[in-house]
Amino acid sequence: MMPISQSVIKKDHLAKACGQAMYVADYDTTQMLQGLILRSPHAHAKILSMTYPPLPEGYFTVDYRDVPGINEVHIVKDDTPVYADATVEYIGDPIMMLVGPDERELERLLAQIEVNYELLPAIIDVRDGDTAFFDYHFGKGDMDQAWAEADQIFEECFETGYQEQAYLEPQGLIADYNQGKITVRGSMQCPYYVHGALAKALGLTPDKVRVIQDVTGGGFGGKEDYPSILACQVAVAAYKAKGQPVRVIFGRREDMEFTSKRHPSRCTYKAAVKNGRVTALDADVIFNAGAYTTLSAVVLQRGIIAASGVYDIPALKVHGAAIKTNTVPNGAYRGFGAPQTFFAVEMLMEHIANALDEEPLAFKLRHMVRQGSVTSTGGRYHFPVPLPAMVDEVRKMSDFEQKRQVYARQQTGTTRRGIGISLWFHGAGFTGSGERDIIKAVTRLHKLADGRVEILASQSDIGQGIKTTLCKIVANELNLPLDQVSYDNPDTDRVPDSGPTVASRSLMTVGELLRRAAIRLRSQWQEGVEQTVEEHFKEPDFVIPFYIDKFQGDAYPTYAWGVCAVEVAVDTLTGVNEITGTWASFDVGTPIDLNIVIGQMEGGLLQGLGYASMEQLAADQKGRIRNHSFSDYIIPTAMDVPLMKVQLHVEAYPDGPYGAKGAGELPLVGAAPAYMSALEQALAGPINHIPFSAEDALKLIRQSRRA
């Protein structure tokens, strides 16, 4: 282990442990106004008129007419309105905000607002959708030839459901408009995304916009784009309040029902097989985008780039579409489109292997990419692919072969067991040329006269420990004790734009920039004076430029790798299954802090297992999400996966700090297929959708009995 990997006490540990850390809801509210959002009860309707009740002194309304700039939230495309003007596009679409000092009074008044709607036809089921927000095609190799020469063709459709980020701290922001300047603070991943959105909606120059991240109680992607929307809404209210801050803190139900989630997907895969090898793959990937585009373009891109998984398949044809429906807009969630396609491709490989009567793992290993292989987009796996070694590690930890054989025998009794394994990657950092062309990250180090050094960057610590790891890197290069290097929650008035806290990029990309800045500072170090150094992103030379219009080139400079085995026991009377063990090996390059990385891996893995099973969320026929509380959207507790063993396999990445690469998202991405493969073995039947419930298990048991 490298010395830098040795764990330290996290920078924010004590404040959080003793309850002193200030989250946005913790500020004194005596001088603040509260805001409550009126939302559409209809999935699609025209707003004909709105009638506001007489309001007591100190209360006021805020709607699209109050937006001083443009009534659009800047995300990727800017079709999300700050407040709905002509139509509402999903149940929950924000129409206006009622603002005033007392929350109960706000609730009472809000119920008196009358909105007249003309109902419009709504599209709830993605299969009925006729608008593709985004539609992409790419491929490689000779599909026709592969099809013509195939011994067998396999075709199957895979479906995945919603997943709610369920960060423990709900969304919340405070906005304050003073002397021509708007300040928004609160729970967020991307202060500069919020900054850009505010400038547009308020019609202010960037210097009149200030965004401050407060201690944030989890994000997982859920606080990537959503805070931009909420920020515009609260800021417009503050603009109208003239001098009094306005605060909006969501309750759990509002947060679960109306904020972005993981895109549900339908992936139809066709594979040509010749001589026991998959020679071609045709993947049709449909994501349910919801009512506005938000981040669907980029989520879909990452999803379809991973369409062929970790397999070297000579001919490939990929189509991806993000379809508009009149449901809550879906956005970023750890894994960002890849969990959907990895589920499809991993299950497909299992099913083909089963049909060919080959052990799925052996079948997968025969198809695996290696260093130098061509990626789905004609790029290269430039660095060693450590999967075979990682598979061996997981085999050993889990006693895989032995269990797999035992469970393959005819099982009797009420408890059936199974074990499965899955393999995956996660492209490290932004997809394609985003880092080079759009983000253009800048970081600074500010050395004080007394020799302490402050990091100036816009990364948010949302629990992943970036405050600690960035400081470790800088302290290490400058030979300073860790307490001499500090990193405060970003404030756009003070820090440059080093990019958003997304895509597992912070440590790999911004960490490396800071490492270089520290090296430079060290070479220029002068005792007793204040100094500043600045570092700009530069794409590594080896990268094959990526063109998004053609999906050609290196979509990612490098990859993090994952292998996971899951063992289950299913009660055939109830269909309920128990995870009796899960073992995983992850390669995220050099861990910059062993405990932190292990914590990320375990937390992400558990979210991935929840995604596959208990985390069930659905819109009903009207487009309403009804399970919007922790009593009916169930996330794993400490009892659910008591045996979870994670180990790291280190394949250092030369362009990441000390060999580190993207980490945060990886562990979630491929957990579901391992779990479902285990269930398939236990239930002796095929599974092609998640979340997979106890009722689904009972159905499968009945089916396999009949067969």
Binding site: I9, G19, D26, G603, I635, A638
Partner: protein, 158 residues
């Protein structure tokens, strides 16, 4: 004369003059400004609002003020002054069990309850004791480990 609801808050006698129907969580956060008590759901499902009432773990969002009359209420602010907290806090630190931190005040109080009942807890006893407290970040392993470390290091304290 109504002298309010009298109870002990973090060791200090206090009297709350608001309604007996008010929720303990709101009163702790707003009236007494004890914001270490978090709100994650407001309906008794997540444990972020955990406090100790006479030494028992309770979701303060589900407790009406009338219920705490003559009780001893301990929040993370009070508990963090104890020696037991120090042992737990250091154990959490040693395994970096604190990620976003939102569940942590509740988790630490849940840990206290586990150790108060089982000074030498089995892993199952620990997991059972934490099962009312959701954590979305850690996957729970580190928190379980922290309690095991605290049990060992805090020998005799519980």
């Amino acid at each position: 004369m109504n002298q309010g609801i009298v109870f002990k808050l973090n060791g200090q006698p206090v009297s709350y003059t608001g309604s007996a129907a008010d929720r303990l969580l709101d009163v702790l956060r707003q009236t007494y400004r004890l914001t270490g008590v978090k709100c994650g759901c407001n309906e008794g499902e997540c444990g972020a609002c955990s406090v100790l009432i006479d030494g028992h773990l309770a979701n303060s969002c589900m407790v009406a003020m009338g219920r705490v009359e003559n009780c001893e209420v301990t929040t993370i602010e009070g508990y963090s002054q104890t020696e037991r907290f120090q042992v737990l806090e250091q154990a959490y630190a040693a395994v970096s069990a604190v990620q976003c931190g939102y569940c942590i005040p509740g988790m630490i109080l849940a840990s206290e309850c586990v150790l108060a009942r089982h000074p030498h807890p089995s892993e199952t006893e620990i997991r059972l004791g934490l099962s009312g407290n959701l954590c979305r970040c850690t996957g729970y392993n580190a928190i379980v480990k922290a309690i095991q470390i605290a049990a060992e290091k805090g020998e005799g304290l519980w």
